[in-house]
């Protein structure tokens, strides 16, 4: 891998393995004393910060920010950018000389932002190592770059799950949800024969289908990238099985033809009203399905996407710190970020408790799933233990997804996968095209 892909500009003698080994020790040995000339949160009071987020539950965000402000005596100006176009909006602010002090970001942009000196490396900040040490091992790679830089804190985390209609699965003669991709097809076929025109729905639109590439590769026991972030999926024969399965699901009508442009709201309505049996997407979509109170909402439950053997994709977005902060302002911003993406000063998952209650969002910490307040706040119709177990043992963040070049690959995936689904390409050609897309993204070229 070229040096730029490893995060040039983040010079460090530590590699990720060393750091991850060390964080446990560092976490235990963490002292309240603040290093690197950082001030304590109390000393950092009275700062004016600005925070940029996208518009998911803005009132919840405002309330979380207000609570922290009140507690610490710092002023935070929160601004919202619509979800559509957030990437462009946040970049325009950076380039325009009005960078945010703390800001939401997509995980796939996070290392790139640090490399471009738009976001700070959080190494050395008090409690940063402890935060990483507290995460699921499977989650750490999203926040820690290959050179050891800590690029972000969690905004939320989620796993892909299979929302399914219990009655439809049982009526088709199956005692459990599918345990392989082939079983998924077989169950869909039987349910389709029983009269459900399009049993399987998923958010396969052009800009999002890359997540499913990993969901299905992981379900098919394919490791997409090696430890250095080089693509290896194209050399694995199982990749072709996965791609052939995917194409068959679309071509044979297991999904609606419109699935290439349908949004999650439509899928939610479809499964909630009994027009679909399976809906593969992040775990928290079960909340929308149940709360939409459709005719079949009460029949919907949740299972791992592939019940045995395979893993699914663990995703989540992040909060980053602006690169220009220093002194008291930096200390205040870091306190805000710890509060927002980890624990408050009392050691409570206050922010995540709120998100658990208002959106069924999770945090990538084992402690989150055993926290009594989180358990009390999480929707009762969701199996928090199952979700926690998926985080712990059956999911992978695919570390390459946060590498600086990755967004260039992500942007090309949609066209390539859609061509496969539409029958314009076959599995072999698709695997090759995806590998070439990785190469062009890494070289910074490609239209």
């Amino acid at each position: 891998m070229e040096s730029s892909e490893n995060g040039s500009g983040l010079n460090s003698n530590l590699d990720r393995r060393t750091l991850l080994k060390g964080v446990g020790v560092a976490g235990l040995a963490a002292v309240p004393m603040l290093s690197s000339g950082m001030m304590s949160p109390a000393e950092a009071a009275g700062q004016s910060l600005n925070f940029t987020a996208w518009e998911y539950q803005p009132d919840t965000i405002k309330s979380l920010v207000a609570t922290w402000s009140k507690k610490t005596g710092n002023k935070v100006t929160t601004s919202f950018i619509p979800n559509v176009g957030y990437t462009a909006g946040i970049q325009a602010r950076q380039r325009g000389g009005k960078p945010a002090d703390m800001f939401y970001n997509f995980a796939y942009n996070s290392q790139k932002f640090v490399n471009q000196k738009w976001a700070a490396d959080l190494r050395g900040l008090p409690g940063a190592d402890a935060m990483v040490a507290d995460m699921f091992p499977s989650s750490r790679a999203r926040f820690v770059a290959q050179n050891g830089a800590i690029v972000s804190v969690p905004y939320f985390a989620a796993v892909h799950m299979l929302q399914y209609n219990k009655k439809m699965v049982a009526a088709a003669g199956f005692s459990s949800t599918p345990n392989s991709l082939q079983e998924t097809y077989d169950q869909c076929k039987k349910i389709k024969d029983n009269g459900v025109a399009s049993p399987y729905v998923a958010y396969w639109v052009k800009d999002f289908v890359e997540e499913y590439l990993h969901v299905y590769l992981l379900a098919g026991n394919v490791k997409p990238f090696d430890d250095k972030g080089n693509p290896i999926f194209m050399d694995d024969p199982k990749t072709l099985d996965v791609l052939n399965w995917w194409q068959a699901m679309y071509k044979d009508g297991m999904t609606p033809k419109s699935v290439l442009t349908d949004d999650p709201g439509k899928h939610t309505t479809a499964i909630a009203n009994g027009d679909a049996a399976f809906y593969a997407l992040h775990h928290y979509f079960l909340r929308d399905i149940v709360e939409s109170k459709g005719s079949a909402s009460a029949d919907i439950s949740q299972a791992k996407i592939v019940g045995t053997g395979g893993k699914t994709l663990q995703m989540g977005e992040v909060v980053q710190m602006g690169a220009k902060l220093t002194g008291a302002k930096k200390a205040a911003a870091w306190d805000f970020m710890k509060n927002y993406g980890y624990k408050d000063s009392a050691g409570q998952f206050t922010t995540f408790q709120k998100w658990a209650s208002s959106g069924a969002l999770c945090a990538p910490y084992p402690g989150f799933f055993t926290d009594p307040k989180v358990i009390a706040a999480f929707p009762k119709y969701m199996d928090l233990t199952l979700i926690g177990d998926t985080f712990k043992t059956a999911s992978d963040v695919v570390p390459a997804r946060t590498l600086p070049w990755y967004q260039g690959f992500q942007a090309q995936c949609g066209t390539i996968i859609h061509d496969l689904l539409l029958g314009n390409s076959n599995a072999r050609a698709t695997a090759n095209a995806l590998a070439i897309a990785c190469k062009t993204a890494k070289s910074g070229s490609g239209l």
Binding site: Q91, Q116, L422
Partner: protein, 299 residues
């Protein structure tokens, strides 16, 4: 007395300049400087952090895009979209203007309604039309079913052969309202006596349209065509909301490539070169339109 006139003229010109100065300044800041910068950046490798200008690369950004098959495929698709958009919005807008220029009950209400689509932002238009054309629960499929014109739903947006036409249709819906408003204003300046005289002379409705209405509307049509060329070639929001450029690359236009270069690859040099190429196509289209339509006026 002879000396006073030029003095007043200079004074008037200066006063005019003062009045126009705020607008000139805004245009300079928001239009001219960014445009010049874009041309400038298209010859450089621009650092992604936006600080400094980077290495001068002569025409390598242009060589790169012109040697890429994706650019030419997308360019052709953009022109195809623009042609559908220009013809569709002009024809529908002109028809609506002719209709609304006639006297009938409810004319004023309809004229008022004409403003509504134009008041919708492009992104909202895209969202509305996405639901209207939905392959499962869309209103259009429902109407066609009720009329027994189709026996099963049509996937308007997931079908690569239909998607470009459907996104163009959504954009036409909004733009034709503006066209209708502009042409209606032109029609209302047409003296009724000219029409009446032509009728007395035995000219039929088509002859009157061809020899009186169209020539009268040519200045307005020139403006409308140039606007349509610009909107057609620069279209992004409607398609982004409806298909995100998919399925596959069926609705990926040049504006998408520019967006991708700027905000995903953070490759400002290539993005700027693409923007200049798109502007050149729009300029060429605009010049051809102006030249053609104005020449006809002179004849």
């Amino acid at each position: 007395m002879k000396r006073e006139e030029p003095k007043r003229s200079v004074s008037n010109r200066r006063f005019g300049f003062y009045l126009a100065f705020p607008s000139i300044l805004i245009l300079l800041l928001l239009l001219v400087i960014p445009a010049v910068l874009t041309v400038f950046q298209s010859f450089y490798v621009v650092p992604a952090d936006g600080v400094g200008i980077g290495e001068f690369t002569k025409i390598s950004n242009y060589s790169y895009i012109f040697s890429n098959i994706i650019f030419w495929q997308t360019c052709l698709r953009s022109i195809e979209f623009a042609v559908i958009f220009i013809i569709g919005s002009t024809v529908i807008g002109l028809s609506a203007a002719l209709l609304l220029n006639e006297k009938f009950v409810g004319r004023l209400v309809l004229r008022g309604l004409l403003v509504l689509p134009w008041a919708c932002p492009w992104l909202i238009v895209g969202i509305i039309w996405k639901w209207f054309l939905d392959g499962n629960i869309g209103l259009l499929n429902g109407i066609l079913m009720r009329l027994h014109l189709i026996s099963q739903n049509i996937d308007f947006l997931s079908n690569p052969k239909l998607a470009l036409w459907m996104t163009a249709l959504a954009a036409i819906w909004r733009q034709s309202c503006l066209v209708a408003l502009l042409l209606l204003a032109g029609l209302q300046t047409l003296p009724r006596e000219v029409w009446d005289a032509a009728s007395v002379d035995g000219a039929g409705i088509l002859q009157r349209f061809r020899h009186i209405t169209l020539p009268w509307l040519r200045p307005a049509l020139t403006v409308v065509t140039v606007l349509n060329i610009i909107y057609g070639l620069m279209q992004f929001d409607v398609i982004f909301a409806m298909t995100q450029g998919g399925p596959g690359s069926a609705t990926t236009l040049l504006s998408f490539l520019i967006y991708r270069q700027f905000f995903i690859f953070t490759n400002f040099g290539v993005g700027s070169a693409l923007a200049v190429a798109l502007a050149a196509v729009a300029l060429l289209g605009g010049l051809i339109a102006v030249k053609t339509l104005y020449r006809k006026i002179e004849v």
